[in-house]
Chain length 177, copies 2
């Protein structure tokens, strides 16, 4: 096991600022390009991250702490943000993400005030029994997977522009998963 | 063709600041984890980006502008930074990258002062004829591919920690390319 609460928080608290540096005031072309029908652009990925802060990580952790395995997590709708059509400019979306993330990290520290809490278990609707520390680890890797997604989506826009170099660029060999 | 000089520069100028936000003061564990023997950790990726600023992008562009197709680019050693063993702390490496990138972008704007320059051609040692705009597009996608790599390497560290969620996390399904 590599997980520690301190190191997990290190990544979780850096993601919003990193995305601000990466995406703020980028051109429309970069923010709206995607990998084809039904795939997300960078701006929609931020909507999804906000949705996770509202309805996934902390709410599920609270269910683990309050209900244990007795009450399964409500399913998280990974497409909720698409239906909601958040039309805010990217900079405001990023600040919204940053604000809710910081509140959630403060809450995380309050909720998980003993090592024993990390081993508490809940019931995932698809996987069954899961541990609090698995949920928090997943929160971290979920950030990383979506940063990777944004870079892949943006790289795709220049697939033809790089000419023969595409052979050397790993990010152009990954598929939408 | 999606490439424009303005939009390419948007990404190139954001990468250093994004990496500062992402990696500065991260724990040793995050900065030194890799994907196994012969693979790079986050800190080594920064060394490679610095190496590219010194010996790849602008030097090759200068060869295109000065020599055209007559003189092939010298091969770029993708492993040079591994032999050099840069032992600076990550924050200093990131500032070094930021500083040389900003100088190179200033140079790029001076060198490429007409649209006609984008269509100029040079000789790549493996690919043969390449255009200046393909080289600059590749510079952009090269940034993106290495940000994707860092997220993948860090995610790998928590592969077992996420428990059953690994099924949902695309970044854990990508292989080292």
């Amino acid at each position: 096991m590599n997980f520690t609460m301190e190191e997990a928080i290190e990544v979780l608290e850096r993601t919003p600022e990193m995305l601000v540096s990466f995406l703020s005031e980028l051109s429309y072309g970069w923010l709206t390009c995607n990998e084809g029908d039904g795939t997300w652009n960078a701006s929609e990925v931020i909507d999804h991250l906000i949705e996770g802060e509202k309805n996934n990580w902390i709410p599920r952790l609270e269910i683990i702490l309050e209900e244990g395995e007795a009450v399964p997590f409500p399913p998280f709708n990974r497409y909720a943000h698409i239906n909601e059509q958040n039309t805010l400019p990217i900079k405001e979306k990023l600040l919204q993400f940053q604000s809710i993330r910081m509140k959630n990290l403060a809450k995380l520290k309050t909720l998980m005030d003993s090592y024993a809490h990390l081993e508490l278990t809940g019931t995932h609707p698809a996987f069954g029994k899961v541990k609090a520390r698995e949920l928090i680890s997943t929160w971290v890797v979920h950030d990383l997977t979506h940063v990777a997604q944004i870079t892949r989506v943006m790289a795709e826009r220049y697939r033809d522009d790089v000419g023969p170099w595409k052979e050397y660029l790993g990010v152009l060999k990954q598929v939408n998963k």
